[in-house]
Every structure is written in structure tokens, then in C-alpha cells.
């Protein structure tokens, strides 16, 4: 009973048709982002029309899943289980909102190197979260 109540509930991502390929990839253990072939810039969340130049030539790319904490904050009160929301800037140059895990009770410092993990949310979809670098 007590262990049940300490498991964090991860809400199911509300997947729309445009987001479908991203979550197909996470189910297979790959993290995708989009880059525009017209202007060369990456973006996230993924869109069919580039938010930088409005070209429709956006294509999916796969990340190596490594990045750096841009900012993070452990929410400690008012929730059943504390968790740490973050922005992580991937080595490919795009920043995404995520959660950090595996850092105990502290908020990792800005600049901490992190690696993606795929965590099952309610409903079975896998969402990308980030933890300490895994040993090679």
C-alpha cells in the first residue's frame, strides 16, 4: 500500500496525428526531433510547418539522446511524489521540456550532462526523460 502511493503517476501524453511519429519512435527507443531543410534550424515540439521560416520541408532526425540541463526545478510540495521538471538542450542544438530522474532528492545544476531514458506513461506510451550518463 505504502509503496503504491509513492509511485509517480505520469499522465498519458495527449497524442494528436501530427505527434504520432514521435511516439512511434519512443516506443522503439529512439528520440526524434525535427529540422527544416529550407533554413537548417531544428525545432521541438515537431511541426509540419517550420516555426522559423514557415517552409513545409521539415524532416525527422534521430538524436543521440545526450544533452545538457538548461534549467531544472524539483517540485517538493503539493504533489504526491516530488519530481524534477527541466529543459534539456540536446547536443544536436534543440531544447525540449522533460523530467530528470535518477538524481535523488536534489535539482541537478545547470550544465549537468544527461542521457535519455524512455519511461512508460499511463496508457502505455513511452515518454523521453533524462538521467545521469550511462557507463559505456
Amino acid at each position: 500500500m505504502s509503496s503504491e502511493t509513492t509511485v509517480r503517476r505520469i499522465p498519458a501524453p495527449l497524442i494528436n496525428p501530427e505527434a504520432q511519429p514521435f511516439f512511434q519512435a519512443t516506443a522503439e527507443g529512439r528520440l526524434l526531433y525535427k529540422r527544416c531543410e529550407a533554413c537548417g534550424q531544428p525545432h521541438h515540439p515537431p511541426r509540419s510547418i517550420c516555426p522559423h521560416c514557415h517552409s513545409d520541408r521539415t524532416k525527422w532526425e534521430t538524436t543521440a539522446g545526450l544533452g545538457t540541463v538548461y534549467s531544472a526545478s524539483m517540485l517538493r510540495r503539493g504533489v504526491p511524489v516530488p519530481y524534477c521538471v527541466a529543459y534539456v538542450t540536446l547536443d544536436e542544438g534543440v531544447t525540449l521540456m522533460t523530467d530528470l530522474m535518477g538524481f535523488g532528492n536534489s535539482t541537478p545544476a545547470v550544465g549537468t550532462r544527461v542521457q535519455v531514458r524512455f519511461v512508460e506513461a499511463e496508457g502505455g506510451a513511452k515518454v523521453p526523460m533524462f538521467g545521469p550518463l550511462e557507463a559505456k
Binding site: S71, S73, V94, T95
Partner: protein, 388 residues
């Protein structure tokens, strides 16, 4: 036409309640509408423009126009969260200038305290909101969004927890003089830092109050304003902007206030150094610090030094902020602090703030609002007003 003759704020009213479990939201809207009209010396039949945002029950303005028995020829329900009401005042002035209405009523009311709302609750995502699949699993709530902005500001500029705490201390020094304020006890930096950490690095005392109630303002044509018995407050500048995270070059230490503020100062033809009183949106301490920088009251990164040591307490320097106690101590009705920001600026310009915190000969004031979430999508609105 003289730009300073566009529109005036002729009525302002803040509901005295902070807890209204036995009232409806529509009832609170009606009470603040009545209060602002009485303050102006106008009747509901004079109102020909009506503005409300997402706190108003019903579809846009429809239910409230019906409930209040209004006959508007101009309505608007732009919703940018807590900054909506500053945008409404600006748009009301534009509508008046264009001849679309003469007397515009703007109302805000809500009961989040009675309904058990808090800043650690997840927001409800619309299933088709484009960000929903990429944010809803991660638990972004108001406080951890602002906390990430604070964390990054500390990293980039060396801002300290003590400096942020001074913003709350300043608010508490003002709130002690406001009999309606929710939190009237003066607190110290040590008190703030000893309160529980909610979301690193923000403590409980760095969060605004959750209060029931509301407020309203009336914007009118200058010819009408001059016939009324109240001091005339002119809107001389305004600006609005939307900010979001550019995933290709993220920066959450600068807000859209940089753009709304620049537009407002350019339109008003004044500079930050000319402003003696400013209402600065204070959902959290960090909100104030970032907006002060973005509005140009100090350099980017210098906000910590600017707010420290009680400099912004009335009478301590050339600038006073949030002399009603702000959202941090006085009132944050409907979880939307924009309306109370306008109201205290009007009080200051009329010379009707509490005597202890009244800025001497206050001729120019600024009101600044931020809606949404500072570390994410947000809207900023800036108003600059002048005593005629």
C-alpha cells in the same frame, strides 16, 4: 489628436473580499462592475463597451453581458491569463479612439481560494493544444515553470535567494498598511528563506496568495472623464507581446515585457527613470525581478541588486512598487493579478493610496502584467498612465 487625449481611466474598484465561498463568480463580477461605476459616477446604462477574459463564466462576454444587463456596441474577450486586463484597457482605449465606444467596463472575478486552487496543480491541457503531447507527461505547473526561470537567472547572473526574498519583504512592508490584504505581517529575508522550499529555488513565501474576489476598471473618452468628479488618469502608452521558448535558442531569463515595455515607453514618450510608481506583476518573486529588468528599470542581470535592501519600499528610493502589498501579500483574485495592478496605479495617480505608502506628487505610473507561465508561453502587457 494629442496622443495623451486618447482615453482615461475614470473608475477603479477592488473587491474588499479575499474569501467568498457563498458568492457566485458572476455575482462577484457584478459587484466589482457596480463598485467601479459608483467610483466613476457613472451608470450601467452609460456602458457601451464590455471586456472580460477567461475568468468570466460563459461563452466569451455573452453570459456576463446578459447577467449585467448591458447594451454594449463593442465587446472583447482576449484571454492572455493574468495580463488580459491590461490588454483590455489598451484595446478599450483604441476602440474609444476609433469611435467604437465611449465608456468601456473591464471586469475580473473568481473564487480560486474557495475552490481549493494552488500553484502546484497541473493545468488542464486542451487535447489539441500543439504542446500537449510534449508537456503534459512532465508535470509543468505554474510554480516549477517560474522556478526554472529563477534557477537559470541565478546561474547566469549570480542572483541570490536573499535578493529574491527582498521582493516579498518589500510587499509585506506595504501590505501592513492595507486592511484588506490577506497577509499583513511584515516578514524578513530570514523568514522567507526559512519557509518551505516548494519548487527549487522558490520558497512558499515567494508565491502569491490564492484569493477570491476581483476588480473592475472603467475606461472612457476624455471629454466624459473631464465631466466626472474624480481625478483624471490618462492612458498615455501601452504595449503587449507574447513570449515562448524558441527551442533552437532557449532563453527564459528574458520575458515578453522587453517588447511590451519598449512599445509602451515609446508611445508615452517617457523613460523608466521618469516613473515613480510601478505595479509589477508578482505571481512569484522572480516574476518581479525579470520584469523590472525587461522594462528597463535596471540592466539585465542587475535585478537582484536593484530589489535588495528594501530599495523599492515606498519612500526609500526614486521608485516604489506594489504599494497595496501586491499579489504576494494583498490579493491575486481568480489567480490573475493584472486587474489589481491597474487599480493600485490608479490609486497612486489619484493620491488615494494609503498615506504611508503614497508616492509624493505621483504624476506618472506604470502597470505591468504577465499571464501564462514565465518559463514557457506567456503574454506581457504594459500600461503607462499620467495624472492630468
Amino acid at each position: 489628436m494629442n496622443k495623451n487625449e486618447r482615453a482615461c481611466i475614470v473608475g477603479a474598484y477592488e473587491h474588499p473580499t479575499r474569501h467568498a465561498p457563498d458568492k457566485s463568480v458572476a455575482q462577484l463580477h457584478a459587484e466589482v462592475a457596480r463598485g467601479a461605476l459608483q467610483d466613476a459616477g457613472l451608470d450601467a446604462s452609460d456602458v457601451d463597451g464590455y471586456f472580460c477574459a477567461g475568468d468570466a463564466p460563459g461563452l466569451g462576454p455573452l453570459s456576463m453581458v446578459d447577467y449585467l444587463g448591458l447594451k454594449p456596441r463593442y465587446v472583447e474577450s482576449t484571454d492572455t491569463g493574468g495580463s488580459s486586463y491590461l490588454i483590455h484597457v489598451r484595446h478599450a482605449a483604441q476602440a474609444i479612439e476609433a469611435g467604437h465606444c465611449n465608456v468601456a467596463l473591464v471586469t475580473l472575478a473568481g473564487r480560486p481560494r474557495s475552490e481549493g486552487s494552488s500553484g502546484t496543480q497541473a493545468r488542464a491541457y486542451n487535447i489539441m493544444a500543439p504542446e500537449a503531447p510534449f508537456e503534459s507527461p512532465f508535470g509543468l505547473v505554474p510554480i516549477n515553470s517560474y522556478a526554472m526561470a529563477a534557477q537559470r537567472h541565478m546561474h547566469e547572473f549570480g542572483t541570490t535567494a536573499e535578493q529574491l526574498a527582498w521582493i516579498k519583504v518589500t510587499a509585506s512592508h506595504h501590505a501592513q498598511h492595507n486592511p484588506n490584504a490577506m497577509l499583513r505581517d511584515v516578514v524578513t529575508v530570514q523568514d522567507v528563506l526559512a519557509s518551505p522550499l516548494i519548487a527549487d529555488p522558490l520558497h512558499r513565501m515567494e508565491c502569491c496568495v490564492v484569493s477570491d474576489g476581483g476588480g473592475a476598471v472603467i475606461v472612457a473618452r476624455p471629454e466624459i472623464a473631464r465631466k466626472l468628479k474624480r481625478p483624471v488618469v490618462r492612458l498615455i502608452g501601452g504595449g503587449e507581446a507574447v513570449g515562448y521558448v524558441d527551442s533552437a535558442k532557449i532563453d527564459i531569463t528574458t520575458s515578453a515585457a522587453k517588447h511590451s515595455g519598449a512599445a509602451a515607453f515609446a508611445e508615452a514618450g517617457v523613460r523608466p527613470g521618469d516613473i515613480r510608481y510601478a505595479s509589477i506583476y508578482d505571481s512569484f518573486t522572480i516574476t518581479v525581478l525579470i520584469q523590472l529588468e525587461d522594462l528597463g528599470f535596471c540592466e539585465k542581470g542587475q535585478g537582484g541588486r536593484f530589489v535588495a535592501d528594501g530599495r523599492l519600499v515606498a519612500g526609500q528610493s526614486g521608485l516604489a512598487i506594489n504599494t497595496d502589498g501586491g499579489g504576494l501579500c494583498n490579493n491575486h483574485p481568480a489567480n490573475r493579478g493584472g486587474m489589481t495592478k491597474i487599480i493600485e496605479a490608479v490609486r497612486q495617480l489619484r493620491g488615494e493610496a494609503h498615506p504611508t505608502v503614497q508616492v509624493k506628487d505621483c504624476a506618472l505610473a506604470l502597470a505591468q502584467g504577465t499571464g501564462g507561465m514565465l518559463g514557457s508561453r506567456h503574454a506581457s502587457a504594459t500600461l503607462i498612465m499620467e495624472r492630468a
